[in-house]
Symmetry: D2
Subunit: 333 residues, 4 copies
């Protein structure tokens, strides 16, 4: 039984608490949060203890920590927890700063402890079905990948300003999805973005609508479309064209009800929002972590993957700032 300390009792921490408690081989023993009351409430729900982050990391009885705190604390906590001998599952990103993330990786390597980064969409069974079909050669050789990722509505401007920008905050998931499906990193990245949704986002120097093109060493292409706003909800689609066909993962709808009236034939909207759309994926992610710790095997999504996605976000940010100039990923990494 893996004894787990959860750092961060916010929205995403709450989801992870459920996964930890529900897994037959892990137990939630302690919870910390910047607001102790949050930790107490969540701990009580699962019969765990509310403690300080420091106490959790220092406790030799705790085998693993799940880091679901604010982004600016991720790298420090990863380092502290691995130094204390713990296995770590940390929410993305490692850090908004690529150099800091690399330094974190170097520190972790010295401890020899396993770290997984919470790029949870790799564990979604729909995308996994696409990946499996592609790997099985069902569409021949993949040639052109398309990822659509629209949020229902922009976050508060206060969040935007500390988010690192659209590419580091939102597109990072799509970069990792591209890496997952294409099985390789792109050679060049071209990004174009605009602030069309919210003028405040533009005023803050960020964009809310973007197109990113990835070009691989062997000529394959990928394109990512992002928007901070889709009136119909959370839009998450992937499409892969290959030499012998195409694979598409569409949205998971709220339900299968269709209404046919004089106004048209109307189906349900996509599942809203990411905690609901990826609920199963979060549980599968946790199960993969537990299994990797148990078997002492490689982490399914490690620091290397987290840093690669971050470097792509860095390159995209630079490209967009340079009016869409192609960035060589190798120069960024």
């Amino acid at each position: 039984m893996l004894k787990v300390g959860l750092l961060g009792a916010g929205r995403i921490g709450t989801v992870h608490a459920g996964s930890i408690a529900a897994h037959p081989e892990s137990a939630l023993v302690a919870v910390s949060d910047a607001l102790p009351r949050n930790a107490e409430k969540l701990a009580a729900e699962y019969g765990a203890q509310a403690r300080t982050t420091e106490a959790i990391i220092a406790d030799p009885e705790i085998d693993a920590v799940l880091i679901a705190t604010s982004t600016d604390t991720h790298a420090d906590l990863i380092e502290a927890a691995t130094a204390a001998g713990k296995a770590v599952l940390c929410e993305k990103p490692v850090d908004l700063n690529l150099q800091r993330a690399r330094a974190c990786r170097a520190a972790v390597v010295k401890t020899g402890k396993p770290v997984m980064i919470g790029l949870n969409r790799r564990f979604d069974r729909h995308f996994q079905a696409l990946k499996a079909a592609a790997d099985a050669g069902e569409i021949g050789k993949p040639e052109l990948l398309s990822i659509t990722s629209f949020d229902p509505a922009p976050p508060p401007i206060g969040y935007v300003t500390v988010s690192g920008g659209l590419f580091r905050d939102m597109t990072i998931h799509d970069f990792d999805m591209a890496n997952f499906i294409m099985g390789d990193l792109p050679e060049t990245i071209i990004a174009t973005g605009s602030a069309l949704v919210d003028a405040e986002i533009g005023a803050a120097g960020d964009v809310d609508t973007a197109v990113v093109t990835l070009r691989y060493g062997d000529g394959r292409l990928a394109v990512i479309r992002n928007s901070r706003r889709a009136a119909y909800g959370y839009d998450q689609r992937v499409e892969l064209l290959g030499s012998e066909g195409m694979l598409q993962v569409g949205n998971v709808l709220e339900n299968t009800l269709v209404r046919a009236t004089a106004a048209g034939v109307t189906g349900a909207k996509p599942t809203h929002f990411f905690l609901e759309r990826y609920r199963e994926a979060y549980a599968a992610e946790w199960a993969a972590f537990v299994e990797a710790v148990r078997s002492e095997g490689p982490m399914p999504v490690g620091l290397d993957e987290g840093i690669a996605a971050l470097a792509m976000a860095e390159a995209a940010t630079r490209s967009a700032e340079a009016g869409g100039r192609a960035q060589n990923l190798a120069e960024v990494m």
Copy 2:
């Protein structure tokens, strides 16, 4: 905390055990099974005790029992458990014999204890969305209901011969769905069936493919289509035509992956099989039971509903045997 004894540790009992254990207000404390080894295994998984059915029913510490044993024991166990002061959730049907079911109801009434029948599809969120839309008047006045219910493959002939026949075993769910959606019982029932899937089913005097037409007192109509075999899997659809539109609930697919190749554009098959398709519905059913017990409110699906569906199955059986002669439901009930 509702202390629950589970009678029956087979396939469906195992599903219920998970629901009982996962619910924050109920605890699985004891499990029995005709094969004690099954009970022991399931009990161990949830930290419950393996006991005899008699001991569970006799234990005053146990508040409620969930009956998931073979059909021929349902009525006896319902009577015993309610006589012992327990709340009961019993899998459908109450009994294959309508008279026995009525006698059971009479016995239960004397105990004053609440009994719920496990007609789980009422708790499926897709069908509930249809019901809610219909009740909200989105399609005006309902006029014609259509229920499609095809199993992937026929059960073993040994099961068929003790099942009470297609209408009591399989269509009973569709009868209850019709009652749920139409909010009334039909006046007449016409059924036609054939043994097309398996000649052995025909030799056993049963049918495996059927069409049942229901006619309501106000002229509304419903039609149920059943087959014991659908090569593409478990097909569960409901469609309701009303004066101002139509509502349709389609199948829940295994995933949203679509493959487009030279062979065509292929989507996933329906979720296979009922334990998977209705997993959420089983949990919702249990939650509704717990809530009804807690609030001492009426059972959401009681013995009356179980007996109504059974009477419709009886009428359909008679109709099919009489070459499709219309049966007056009132005469059967």
Copy 3:
């Protein structure tokens, strides 16, 4: 070049005029109508002559007539035109009265002239694709056919009262579709109907909503659902369950535009109405007629097929009037 006289210049006659004129091997030379002005207008459009029905039938230069007049004139005109040596394509039904239709057939047989009945849906490429797939064994042995046929709105009550009733007027197309797909006539027919859409229809002794079950000699089943009203438009679907799968023909939508907004994801409505939905089928029907005449081959849908569908309508009418009593088709035919 087949010289064609068109009898009847109404809505459906106008559609046929277009097919006749557009076909490279047929020419529209004359048009008649009860209202001469209608004939003149349509004739002018295609460079044909407006004449009387009698003159067209008497003209030895005219090779074929297309009868698109009111139903009560069909049998007389078929007899007159074949007696005059012409090939005939006549709109359905042959007559509302089964005996009159049989007498017409007897008269036609004596002339040796070919007569085709306009059961146009057999020529729809979507249904033909289903038929071809079924005949190719793609779903094994067919077992259960389902036909959905809803009109957008009921016709004027004046039309209803002379229509022969729902089964002869509307379901007749579905009976023929069943015959087309199943390749056999049913043994028994059970029909249930209600007047739910329009009380005037009920007052006129007719129904507007119905379910008809067909049972074949080998146990196969078919079910037809009819309504005179679907708020979302003209609903025309066919579904065939077989031992190895299912075939479905869905509606042909007005266009492929989908709108995703806060209100849901809305697609176009079915193509409205039958002249538009079956436009291609009417042209294909005409082409099949021309080809059969040219090759002196058998008519693809002859008087036998027209009479079979009519007999089924007769049986369904009797069944519905007898509260859903099963009718033996052989007794009616």
Copy 4:
């Protein structure tokens, strides 16, 4: 009645011949072709004369010419025909060379004769429905347009080498679609392409798979995806995200038949190929031309639109050659 001479009796000329002949206000009077036999065959089919291109242009009885010859003759024939006083509908592109196209426009302006360029997709009713919904404000302010355009298979390499390259030959339709829907020209164009489908295409200096990003002056974005090969057929989709929703036009399928078997649930492939997919659009294009000539109104798609699409192709070609460097469209035009 508009008397029309058709220059070019190939595949596309044959389609236009049908539209010209079917339109009630136009008549096909003459056909020419580089291979006189082709012209004779097509002319015979419609009762027209086979003549030389020179004779057709010189004939004062002919009101309009439709130019469906090889691309390298377009500009010369447009100039000659307008100089001879004829209205012209010319297949795209005006010329592969932007300067030549501009010179052609200058020459035409002097004649005062109307010229329409055959960018036929604007007349597709599906895309028109999208345009109408967008213009009606159904999705608020458009922000991100996506156009998917995949051919079933690459053309012969001999065609590729004279085609002007993917962007001038294939993407030109998508550029025009973007102009049609966005109602504006983009400010910058970024293109990336690869030869993944056919190494010979790469050897010829062309690409067969591409992503093109358009950025408008107001920050709106568009992305075009192209491939010369889709194993499942001709893929033509458009998607427009706006501030209040999304509009999508999907593929028009061969038929509505769905097969559900143990292998999955399979629908028909997209309509194959462009002559079939856009058959109605070609007729609508011709009708728009006839109407514009008749009313002496502006051409719905004139030389300006043809040149704009060509300039975008030029910019995209340069961008792809420069490794995805953004091109300012104003500098090219």
